[in-house]
Amino acid sequence: MHNDGATSGRVARAWAALEAVPDPEIPVVSIRELGILREVVAAPDGVLEIVITPTYSGCPAMSQIGEDIGQALDRAGLGPWRLRTALAPAWTTDWITPAARERLRAFGIAPPGQCSAPAGAQPLRFVPRAARAGAPDAVACPRCGSVHTHEISRFASTACKALYRCLDCREPFDYFKPY
């Protein structure tokens, strides 16, 4: 068995090293703040096990995230490590920390609304998109704060974002989709 103090110190140093690993596509937030980095465990075989969870099933950034994690751990001289991908519980944007939401907004990306609605509770809606501008669940423009916005496209620059436009300041912006 390992010395408990040394083990917990190594885990803490790993967390500290990984704190600095940004999301490759949204570099203003870290993978921990996004909820991608789930756990750091000192496995019985002496290997540091880093548990990550994918955002979207096909997120192309996952392999880059894996490489970045490895580099950060190696730079910190933390010894052998391995990555484990856990699917359950499924990643949700509700895990994104309040501080990260604020930085997303400052970066020009509207942070996601809460998505704790139970499964199936998202009815199909066929109302014209503009009719929802100003509704209580409307997305606030990250530049001017207006909720007078509308969706241009359900899909945008990455799998996790939708494209919106502010009808007041007229700027288009990315909206991090509640997921």
Partner: protein, 283 residues
């Protein structure tokens, strides 16, 4: 990137009792469905009717191919338990023959209506939208049910996939309404696409031994039990889209038994060509 080397010849599963192979066969069908539709939708990449839809279709493909990768990962483990030879996701995608793919025929059809002989036509976005709508409306129900699968990994994959599939359904249903309740021309094209594709849904609801066995083991779901919920989504959307439900037909396609349409080999030729021409290549 690395192209996978040609794998060892897969062991035949035919000598094993159906009860032992049901989970693998069931998961492979789900995986093949996701991969083949992902490959089809990706054909719009760089060719979308408008930029936003080009991006939307590429994103949807990314989700579908991601789901396929997770499902192939699980299938590879299940096959390893049966044969002692675990399979990699690339073994399934690049190195199986047409007869080994078990996707629903609906998903391999080209983005256009039926044509006689060797007539050629461009892609029809109406076909793309109607297919994505019919498939997503069913998969939302199926992933919902599979979250309770006794196979924990399949349940976890379902819990991820349902979020993506709900989004795909919203996208497709929105376009069903915009095009169906659009101009005379767009309405007519949507109605034609619906008449072309709806008969292929019969295959999805046709129960067979693999599905019955997977359901009996608590791993899978009898898709026919999801029919009322699917019917309701279709009816609600078609009404908003001013489209009419074509009459039911007795036609049942056979893709999930490995007997595909004439379009499948072309799709596989494009998808598998590079990996087969350059096994193990890196780029």
């Amino acid at each position: 990137m690395t192209a996978s080397p040609q794998p060892a010849v897969p062991a035949s599963l035919d000598h094993l009792p159906p009860a032992r192979t049901a989970a693998l066969r069931y998961v492979l069908r789900l995986a093949d469905n996701a991969l083949i539709l992902g490959q089809r939708n990706a054909e719009w990449c760089g060719h979308g009717p408008v930029l936003e839809e080009d991006i939307a279709l590429a994103n949807i493909s990314l989700d579908l191919i991601g789901q396929a990768r997770l499902l192939y990962g699980r299938a590879g483990e299940l096959e390893g338990e049966l044969t002692g030879l675990p399979r990699h996701e690339d073994d399934y995608a690049y190195w199986r023959a047409e007869r080994d793919f078990r996707n629903w025929t609906l998903l391999e059809l080209p983005h256009r209506g039926p044509l006689a002989g060797n007539a050629a036509a461009g892609r029809d976005y109406a076909v793309t939208i109607v297919r994505n709508f019919l498939y997503s409306a069913l998969m939302v129900e199926l992933w919902q049910a599979l979250q309770d699968s006794r196979d924990e990994q399949l349940a976890a994959i379902a819990a991820k996939a349902i979020k993506e599939t709900r989004y795909h359904l919203h996208h497709a249903a929105g376009w069903m309404v915009r095009l169906g309740d659009g101009t005379e021309a767009s309405h007519a094209r949507m109605q034609r696409a619906l008449e072309h594709l709806l008969p292929y849904m019969n295959e999805c609801f046709a129960q067979d031994a693999v599905e019955s066995e997977a359901a009996a083991q608590g791993i899978g779901v009898v898709t026919a039990t999801l029919r009322p919920a699917w019917d309701a989504t279709v009816a609600e959307t078609l009404e908003a889209a001013t489209l009419s439900l074509p009459p039911a037909t007795g036609f049942v396609s056979t893709g999930k038994h490995g007997v595909h349409s004439e379009h499948m080999s072309y799709l596989l030729g494009e998808m598998q060509g590079l990996a087969r021409a350059h096994p193990g290549a890196q780029w």
